[in-house]
């Protein structure tokens, strides 16, 4: 066999069939949904993921999910970076009422969700942690839907900005609350102060360092799309790895990284980022794998409480955005649509919920069930609402010829 040394001993490329299965299924389901139901493709990707996942057909087992995990991390990193790039933090300075709307919708949806959870007799700190998790709008959904529709306009721009902001609030609030919980458990007061500070400032410092490095590199490369794309892809990978290794918040660090590259880019070195086909592949993986990891049987267990929780959350977002509609220069109709566009719930919420439940058993299986069924409900409802909102706002691009 020596002359056949080039043949490998083990089956090569063991993971490839899984990727292929996912992508093929997602491509077919996505197009079918787009063509026949005229709904966002990502619903198809979610459906394929859910169907193949360990809780349904089981074609994707825990092991194959684990094999796909690194790409999932990259996908999350790219989504957060792109969202950061697409928001303009200086807007808040020119129109402070936009920040007002952001704070109001987050605070109100936090308050209302807290009330619902408290009524379900969750311990206060745990209820607060869950409500904080619920504040965030799903960055990937908002990004995928705006990209799919190629939408432009005030609802689109504000949905992106408010999503970035409420995701950041959620991470910070959860960080603080978890530190409180930690004190109840371990009795160490230093963790309360230092952990959130480390989380926030560490992540932002990481973001600043990476943004500077990126712009320095771009200044050398010039405005070449290909080279910039590869460069950013590589730096995002490193940033995700660095944030995770340093136990910082990947969300805050990558969002901040994207936003800072835009903020500091005075010479407009950054040619507008088109993640194009690779971006789509990463989004497919993100949605399919998130759906695969959801245990849809929990949906039945907590569906009623989950629905009430979602209603409270949406009510908070609607009232908050409407309260600042006129001040921020948005007609009431568009403000209502903006609130709907903020409905999608974050895949990051799943991670946070599992993590909280694991770290603090008092979070309780029942509360986790309520949260997870709320997330599962929103998994399908969220993209629909965001899609509907942008289309009704008249911000979707005209049908592109095939």
């Amino acid at each position: 066999m020596r002359e056949l040394f080039f043949l490998p001993d083990i089956p090569p490329a063991a993971q490839l069939p899984w990727y292929a299965l996912l992508l093929l299924g997602a491509a077919i389901a996505g197009e079918a949904i787009e063509r026949w139901l005229r709904l966002p493709r990502l619903l198809g990707w979610i459906a394929v993921g859910a169907a193949l996942g360990p809780h349904a057909l089981g074609a994707l087992g825990e092991r194959s999910l684990a094999a796909l995990a690194p790409l999932l991390d990259l996908a999350i990193g790219m989504v957060l970076f792109e969202l950061g790039q697409r928001v303009d933090l200086t807007w808040v300075w020119r129109n402070p009422s936009v920040l007002g709307a952001s704070v109001a919708e987050s605070a109100l949806s936090f308050g209302l969700m807290y009330a619902v959870l408290a009524a379900l007799e969750a311990p206060p700190l745990v209820a607060a942690a869950a409500a904080a998790i619920g504040m965030a709008t799903a960055p990937a959904v908002v990004l995928a839907v705006t990209r799919d529709l190629r939408s432009q306009g005030q609802v689109t721009e504000r949905a992106l900005l408010l999503t970035a902001l409420n995701s950041a609030y959620a991470v910070i609030a959860v960080g603080v609350l978890l530190a409180w919980l930690a004190r109840e458990y371990h009795g160490d007061w230093r963790a309360i102060v230092l952990h959130p500070l480390y989380l926030i400032f560490g992540s932002l410092a990481l973001a600043a360092v990476f943004a500077r490095a990126t712009l320095g590199l771009l200044a050398l490369l010039g405005r070449r799309r290909e080279a910039q794309f590869l460069c950013v892809l590589a730096l995002v990978m490193i940033a995700v790895w660095a944030a995770a290794s340093l136990k910082l918040s990947v969300l805050l660090a990558l969002l901040g990284y994207g936003a800072a590259t835009r903020l500091l880019d005075r010479r407009r070195l950054f040619v507008s980022l088109e993640f194009g086909r690779l971006g789509t592949i990463l989004l497919i993986l993100l949605f399919a794998l998130t759906a695969a990891s959801l245990d849809w049987r929990l949906l039945a267990a907590g569906v009623f409480a989950g629905a009430v929780l979602l209603a409270a959350r949406l009510a908070g977002k609607i009232v908050g955005v409407l309260a600042f509609a006129r001040l921020s220069g948005l007609p009431v109709r568009k403000a209502s649509l903006l609130a709907l566009a903020l409905a999608p719930m974050s895949g990051i919420a799943i991670v946070l919920t599992h993590e909280t439940a694991r770290l603090y058993p008092q979070f309780g299986a029942s509360l986790a069930a309520v949260m997870l069924s709320a997330i599962a409900l929103m998994e399908l409802l969220g993209p629909l609402l965001a899609h509907f909102a942008l289309v009704r706002a008249g911000e979707a691009a005209a049908e592109a010829p095939a």
Binding site: N95, V271, P331, A397, A398
Partner: protein, 378 residues
């Protein structure tokens, strides 16, 4: 048919008004963005002079002034409108800029504004309607009656290349340097009813022409003519439509005042005979102005002499000086003279692009130029 005849509403001679079509751009990638309806809704809430209106696509907006006799007042109104518009745009995080065409937008991405007139235009002209995403300045000059209006319209033909070259601000189109100073006018020439008005000097005769065109089903209203200069009977004006929207409102006001002074001189001194001959070299001269700007060479239709547009403007400025003094628009002539020395907006745009190498950055500098901020040196 008498009911359909156009009556020319008399207006005070030598009054002027300006319309500017402006670009709405995204602050991140500087491409055109759909923002007109949101912006109009917000602007409508504040008090501002003049009018701000939608245009054919959602990425365009048109502002217009009231009627003025003095350059200084026209400029003040344009600045006030600009301030209101920029303030609203800032709150919506949108950039507003001048320039005759967006340097790199893709016309297929444009979306037609949702109203009956625009939908009709879009249906009739197909892709031309979207390609017509170009931005011009229109100058209205008041005339006491239709006959004067037609005479002035044809007398102006000889001087249009000057206005084209002075205002040219569309060197880049669809992402490339077109080599033209004003590429915008090429988009206008594609329309079947573009070009020049028929050579008639009496309003009655013009009305006959219009009635025949309408009976033949070629036009429905004066709006269907896309001429370089056209009469606007309901305002009692002639409307000069060849200028690119300049990058500053000061330039726009100066161009209007220059046209006003030209009209005063032409009407007062009647320097050249106005016959069909003024159109002898018309399209050639217009091409020279679009292509080469102030360096273009035009042929005098009467004498057959060739001369650079720059020199032609210089000679005209000298003749206009006493009239400008009377009209109180010496500042405007000074600005026009400065254009001759420093170059038109197209030249500025090429220089900025050569500096930064980025069309997006160029658009951003146009936004800052209209807003009137100086760029920090870093």
């Amino acid at each position: 048919m008498t009911a359909e005849r156009l009556s020319f509403a008399a207006s005070a001679p030598l009054t002027m008004g300006v319309e500017l079509e402006l670009q709405l751009v995204h602050r991140r990638d500087c491409d055109l963005t759909r923002a007109a309806s949101d912006l109009l809704a917000l602007v409508a809430r504040a008090r501002h002079p003049g009018e701000i209106k939608p245009e054919i696509t959602e990425s365009m907006i048109e502002v217009s002034t009231g009627v003025h006799t003095r350059h200084r007042e026209l400029l003040a109104e344009l600045e006030a409108i600009r301030a209101a518009l920029v303030a609203a745009a800032e709150r919506l995080n949108v950039g507003v800029c001048g320039g005759g065409a967006h340097p790199f937008q893709r016309w297929s991405e444009r979306r037609i504004t949702d109203n009956p007139r625009m939908r009709h235009v879009s249906q009739l002209y197909g892709y031309l309607a979207k390609q017509f995403t170009v931005f011009g300045q229109h100058v209205h000059l008041g005339c006491p009656d239709g006959d004067t209006a037609l005479w002035l319209l044809h007398a102006f033909a000889r001087y249009l290349p000057q206005l084209i070259a002075l205002s040219a601000a569309s060197p880049f189109y669809q992402g490339v340097d077109t080599a033209f100073d004003s590429s915008r006018l090429n988009a206008v020439f594609a329309f079947p009813l573009s070009g020049r008005a028929p050579f008639v000097l009496r309003w009655d005769a013009f009305n006959d022409y219009f009635a025949r065109m309408r009976r033949a089903g070629i036009v429905e209203s004066m709006k269907d003519f896309y001429w370089d200069i056209r009469p606007k009977p309901e305002y009692g004006t002639i409307e000069i439509r060849v200028c690119d929207t300049p990058l500053t409102v000061a330039r726009a006001a100066a161009l209007a005042a220059y046209a006003q002074a030209l009209a005063r001189w032409l009407l007062a001194e009647r320097p050249d005979p106005v016959t069909e001959d003024v159109y002898l070299a018309y399209t050639y001269n217009r091409f020279q102005a679009c292509r080469f700007g102030l360096d273009g060479e035009i042929v005098d239709p009467l004498t057959g002499e060739r001369r650079a547009i720059r020199e032609d403007v210089l000679a005209t400025i000298e003749r206009l000086a006493p009239h400008a003094r009377e009209l109180g628009s010496r500042d405007a002539l000074d600005e026009i003279a400065a254009v001759l020395r420093e170059g038109n907006d197209a030249r500025w745009m090429r220089a900025r692009h050569a500096d930064s190498g980025s069309l997006a950055d160029l658009v951003w500098q146009q936004v800052e130029r209209l807003r009137g901020v100086k760029r920090p040196p870093w």
